[in-house]
Amino acid sequence: MSVAPAVPGSEAREARDALHAVHPEPDMVQLLTPEGARVAHPDYPLDISDDEIRSLYRDLVLVRRIDSEAIALQRQGELGLWASLLGQEGAQVGAGRALRPHDMAFPTYREHGVAWCRDVDPLTLLGLYRGTNLGGWNPADNNFNLYTIVIGAQTLHAAGYAMGVVRDGAVGTGDPNRDTAVLAFFGDGASSQGDVNESFVWAGADNLPIVYFCQNNQWAISAPVATQTRQPLYRRASGFGFPGVRIDGNDVLASLAVTRKALADARSGQGPTLIEAFTYRMNPHTTSDDSTRYRLGAELETWKLKDPIARVRAYLTRHAQVGPEFFESIDRESEALAEHIRSGCRALPDPAALSVFDHVHTELTDELREQREGFATYLASFEEVGA
């Protein structure tokens, strides 16, 4: 009689899969159900008008349009790569709209929705993905840091920035124009990085004015979240000595309310919070990825039912008496934004070859000047031949 050989580690894998299947609902803060009904939460009351919810709806739709246009531009060869935020609009718009202008945000490379809320022109984001620059914007212009691609590295920058806020006396003064918080984004994969955990250590030990916003979108490229953790990520915070909370990451109202509260706590000197936004990456990791190799379509279907935009539209239609004119006006705005992105992307200038020597240091060193001159001479030799 032959017995099928046991696959090494299969028990551990099964245990992991079971963890992965843990139903997330009991721990989650949710203020708007997938069906579009508002629900109250004792710890996170949200005083918000229907006009403000209309405004959030506009953000969500336009952010999704930025994303779909960028994907189209990548398919047309206008961008080298794009990291889609599809499915995560609610988490990002809620967090982004919770910020005050003088707060500082530290994004990964997928926070296009937060960028939108910080008034960063979507075209500014495209240079990195088109290859015309390496980011290039000034983080101080909109208090929105450069995209960071090395996973988790920005969480330490955020902690350091928060240390500067403390040293500037811009926390706990009670002056709303002075007190400042820092919002650090990362994902479920990054939660395994040393830098993220070191950032938690700094923030906890120093009681820094920082909010960690983890978008648990269930997948780190092909690795399910169970590869990173055996317990829900928000619980990590307790080991570092600050509160952690899990929210329905597809609920823009929950994201807004919980982030607002956490940022207020940070500004007032009550220290850090970890928010785990339980959401889903509807698209592959990037336009270069093929998610059919590692996940089932059925999973996608269940998350489609939790769409962050559909529930806001359902609320506005059923409970706020918002008519078709509003939705049509957003659609027209979306078309105009799409055209802005399409034409603007194609018009982004290729940088000059010699610009590689710019901004390596604050001044051109003799060594770089020599390399620059040599390269210029070489390039000029072709021009002479052509002339």
Binding site: N133, L134, G135, G136, W137, N138, P139, A140, N145, L146, V150, A153, T155, L156, H157, A158, A159, G160, Y161, A162, M163, G164, V165, R167, D168, G194, D195, E198, S199, V201, W202, A205, D358, H359, V360, H361, T362, E363, T365, D366, E367
Partner: protein, 322 residues
């Protein structure tokens, strides 16, 4: 002025920068109350407060990563890495973030961060406490890498590094911390090499801990009637090629000395530049007297392993006999 140790000179230099610029902060493991394991930051926390001179959690990536954020908020961090062999957990933050932030922000951000690293061997330490990792950093665009060899340079160079708007990796030769010397009254340019002993027969290029050894070699060679010209490189990146090449044009012979492993190191870069710019002046191949391509040895072997006066003189003999 009476002579002071290199450790004290660094302390005095740091004190100057803390006095003149309220944005300068000193951070690292044990730099506060203890004053650093080598006492380089001794008394600074007492005089400038725990907000400006402070102990960090024990995590090197965190030290560098938070310094990046502090720099973004307008501060001028001076980070101490306790020993050379402990810089590697912070390597990613140094090469991917500190070094590139100015460039990837299109010049909008500046990273005026000084990273002090006691480096090199010769103190009988246990493993990971005697390494010379300077080439890793010199190979990274966006970083400046310097090393002092004497108290006066230590005093002036640390101030210049802290005032610089670019990140500087500042290598301190730990075995020379307790060597005393007089301070010069004025500074010398940070990124310029210096001829510390003129000579006409062979050029010896060294930096950090090996400058003293090179000078001892020159003294010994002089007894035999050979004049070695010793250049203290001071700046590893950018590298003052002109001073080295000008010297080799006169002597025709070059020996480069460093503790770091010989292959793919600073000596290889200097040899490449010299053959490129002074090919017809060379009377002999460029020789390197360096650490071997092995892990740093147990301390009972380090005196054999490290470049010494005798090994330098042996190389001098070989280049002169060529």
């Amino acid at each position: 002025m009476s002579p002071i140790t290199m450790a004290k000179a660094l302390n005095d230099g740091l004190r100057k920068t803390l006095e003149e610029d309220p944005k300068v902060i000193v951070m690292g493991e044990d730099v506060g109350k203890l004053g650093g394991v080598f006492r380089v930051t001794d008394g600074l926390q007492k005089d400038f407060g725990e907000s400006r001179v402070f102990d960090t959690p024990l995590a090197e990536s965190g030290i560098i990563g938070t310094a990046v954020g502090l720099a973004m908020r307008g501060y001028r961090p001076v980070c101490e890495i306790q020993f050379d062999g402990f810089v590697y957990p912070g390597f990613d933050q140094i090469v991917s973030q500190v070094a590139k932030m100015h460039n990837r922000s299109n010049g909008n951000l500046r990273m005026p961060i000084t990273i002090r690293i006691p480096f090199g061997g010769g103190i009988g330490a246990v493993e990971h406490h005697s390494e010379s990792p300077e080439a890793y950093f010199a190979h990274t665009a966006g970083l400046k890498v310097v090393s002092c060899s004497n108290p006066s340079d230590a005093y002036w160079m640390i101030q210049q590094a802290v005032r610089a708007d670019d990140p500087v990796i500042f290598f301190e030769p730990k075995r020379r911390y307790w060597t005393k010397g007089e301070l010069d009254l004025t500074p010398y340019p940070l990124h310029k090499a210096r001829i510390v002993r003129p000579g006409r027969d062979v050029t010896i290029v060294a930096y950090g801990p090996m400058v003293v050894t090179a000078l001892e070699s020159a003294a010994a060679a002089a007894d035999e009637g050979r004049e070695l010209e010793v250049i203290d490189l001071r700046s590893i990146s950018p590298l003052d090629t002109a001073t080295v090449v000008e010297s080799v044009r006169r002597t025709g012979r070059l020996v480069v000395v460093h503790e770091a492993a010989v292959s793919h190191g600073v000596g290889a870069e200097i040899a490449a530049r010299v053959q490129e710019k002074a090919f017809y002046s060379l009377e002999a191949p460029v020789l390197r007297v360096c650490g071997f391509d092995t892990p740093y040895p147990p301390s009972r072997l380090e005196e054999d392993w490290l470049p010494s006066v005798d090994r330098i003189l042996d190389a001098v003999d070989r280049t002169l006999e060529y």
